[in-house]
Amino acid sequence: MEISIVNRAARLLTAHTETELFIHLCALLQSAHDHDFHVTLGSVWENDQAALRIAIEQPMRQYTDSQIILLWKTTHVFTLSEAGSLNWQRPNGQVITGLVNIQMALQHIDDNAIEPLQTLLA
């Protein structure tokens, strides 16, 4: 049975572990075909540990005096370490670490359940 994008988003909030949240996040992003963002899933080596990393790029316009520069910028990075810890780097550079903190930051998705991905990536 196909799981709706709203239900996938809701699972982020009810995940019991960071790994579970990361997996639901992968599923949520994979199911979003008609959205304007690029997702890269890869492995990295960070702080003497292997980790899985989701990097999300979004289209941006940068205004200068004479031009508007169109670019794709990495806005969100989720990193799941081999030890199971998860952090989320947001567009403003803020890094949120741990299941509880990430779920708190994601809480507003529930209030915008129709477009959870736009809300997540805003």
Binding site: D36, P59, R61, S66, Q67, I68, I69, L70, L71, W72
Partner: protein, 328 residues
Amino acid sequence: MPIQSLVNQYMGINAHLQSYYQAKGGWPAFHDNHITHLQESLGEMLRPFGYLVDNATSLQVREIDPDRPDDPPISYVEKSDVGIREHHSRASSLDTFRTPNLEDGTLVLSIVEAMGLIETDLLRALAIREVDVQDGRLGRTVAWLEVLSPSNKPGGQDWADYAGKRLSLIKAGITLIELDYLHKQPPVIAGVPSYRANPRRGIDADPTAKPYLIAVTDPHPTLFSGRTSVYAFEVDERVPLVHIPLARHEMYTFDFGAVYNRTFGLDANALLVDYERLPEEFATYNARDQSRIQRRMDVVTRHEHRLKEGPFSIETRELDIYGDIDRE
């Protein structure tokens, strides 16, 4: 045992493969694949910004007279390779069989030969068009992209037609992007140093000339005050990032090298590249690039058991052997 890889082992354009196509033919198939990959990649990058990358087999170009902007624009159909239908009787420069090839008594022709096609019939271009974000309708063409073939460079059979087409595009206010990865023929951009000598025209080879270039001609604000940006680069040098001017003063920076590598990796002829042997017509490269090619071949040979990766960096050892080529 040949040294082969489906990963482009050059930092930029693959001199071995390009030399093969220029010496033996077959460029139209690579060209066609490359155009498809460029369309996919550019299209994916530009779509969210309100642009669509169209396969320009036929395009209505609207030419506006800047002195009389209120007059109705002059419209005409611009084919992807305009004017070529007037020249069907000319010999093709495609990789066709030059003489009938009999296999077990059966005459074997290339499809191109059997269909009586000519090279420029098969070559496509790309048009970058605006899309109305409100209703999704296609708007005007803002940029036109050509991957050059031997026939539409100076001295080629379609050069005159191609030169006319370039002019009609920029007169219509369309930015022209030209990818020239063919070092043997003179550049299409006037004023760019010639990589090879042309005794018939009394042109000497310029030792500072580079074999490859990407040119962006932006006819804005007007044809006479617009400019052409030439991104010239050498053998084994990364393809530069190119700034593409679009509508509404928008600009996008694109990595053409990444798309070239993709086309290379999917090209069956990539396996004809043998890094143990010098490229076809090696003498057509200048001394600097010959050194660069040999240096790259050495690097590839040293990594011959890891050629699913690459390209590999030049190490100090190679720099010592070949000297500082860049300063020659």
